[in-house]
């Protein structure tokens, strides 16, 4: 069963399209820009989501409510290291900056701290060259170190969503085999890795 992670504020806009392209399981996230953003009421009926927050400022981690899943969008290597070491953060989102910020040391640290990486595939459309170039290097490292990683849309508009069959074929360009891609696109794998469900 394929799944996707979309912005809670825009979910209603493309709910119908998600269903039409066969994305049956949807997780919702909220982008946190200030500490008051944590107070949002997640209406989680009809979705599989638990409270998922996407942070861009590492200092806001301390204000997060318990029983929530924290994701961190890293753009600087200093923030990346702090996020990996932080116990509350479960996964690093799209660790791609203007220069390469992810290296073997960060991969080792990720492995030690039992964290995963989530690539924002909508970014591949926006910053194609930079995103794909750095992702190729990062994916090779993650495979070598056996660190789990996922590809999700973090959709904020209708055109960010992609049908799973198209995404599957697109990801083959990263030298990933079909079986592996299918496994990573399953809701169960994501829940087991990031939400600690058995």
């Amino acid at each position: 069963m394929s799944f996707d992670l979309v912005n809670i504020e825009c979910y209603d806009v493309f709910k119908k399209e998600l269903k039409e392209i066969g994305v049956e399981n949807v997780f919702l996230f909220k982008k946190i820009l200030k500490k008051e953003d944590f107070l949002i009421d997640f209406n989680l009926k009809n979705t599989n989501s638990s409270k998922i927050f996407l942070l861009e400022d590492i200092n806001l981690v301390n204000f997060s409510p318990s029983n929530s899943l924290l994701l961190f969008k890293a753009e600087k290597s200093s923030d990346l290291f702090l996020a990996i070491k932080n116990k509350k953060i479960k996964a690093i989102v799209h660790p791609i900056g203007n220069d390469l910020i992810f290296d073997e040391a960060s991969a080792n640290l990720l492995k030690e701290n039992n964290k995963s990486v989530i690539f924002n595939y909508a970014e591949f459309k926006k910053n194609t060259y930079k995103s794909i170039k750095q992702s190729q290097f990062i994916i090779d490292l993650l495979l070598k170190k056996q660190i789990p990683f996922f590809f999700l849309s973090f959709a904020e508009k209708k055109n960010d969503i992609i049908q799973p069959i198209i995404l599957e074929n697109f990801l083959k360009n990263f030298n990933l085999n079909a079986e592996f891609i299918k496994k990573q696109m399953q809701k169960e794998t994501f829940e087991k890795t990031c939400l600690n469900k058995k």
Binding site: F14, E17, E20, I21, F124, K125, T128, K158, N159, I161, I162, Q163, I165, I166, L167, E168, N169, F170, L171, K172, N173
Partner: protein, 111 residues
């Protein structure tokens, strides 16, 4: 000198084809066969380069402007590259959905 007729390529030696039915959900622009062809052609070149673009041999056979569905014929060996390239299709084409991939045009026409 009389014009020599070129022999027909035997069916076993011909490239196998796949018929892909696509649906464009909420496109912003008015679509036609030519626009769809160039969009597919361009996105395939962006993702796989000119050699794959040529070998895929994209042909837009039909476009239904009421249901926004298009029937596209591609080389079977490059089906995966073609589907992957749909990732880069422009925003103006809306959300793209692959309805079916068939080996004969008769099966594809059901959609």
């Amino acid at each position: 000198m009389p014009k020599q007729k070129i022999n027909v390529i035997r069916p076993t030696l011909r490239h196998k084809k796949r018929y892909v039915t696509l649906k464009f959900i909420d496109p912003v622009i008015d679509l036609d066969k030519q626009k769809i062809f160039f969009a597919l052609y361009k996105s395939l070149q962006k993702s796989n380069g000119i050699f794959v673009q040529i070998s895929t041999n994209i042909t837009v056979l039909e476009y239904n402007s009421e249901s926004f569905t298009a029937l596209v014929r591609v080389n079977k060996d490059y089906l995966s590259e073609f589907l992957g390239a749909l990732f880069f299709l422009g925003e103006e084409y809306g959300v793209v959905k692959v309805i079916s991939v068939d080996s004969t045009i008769k099966q594809a026409n059901c959609f």
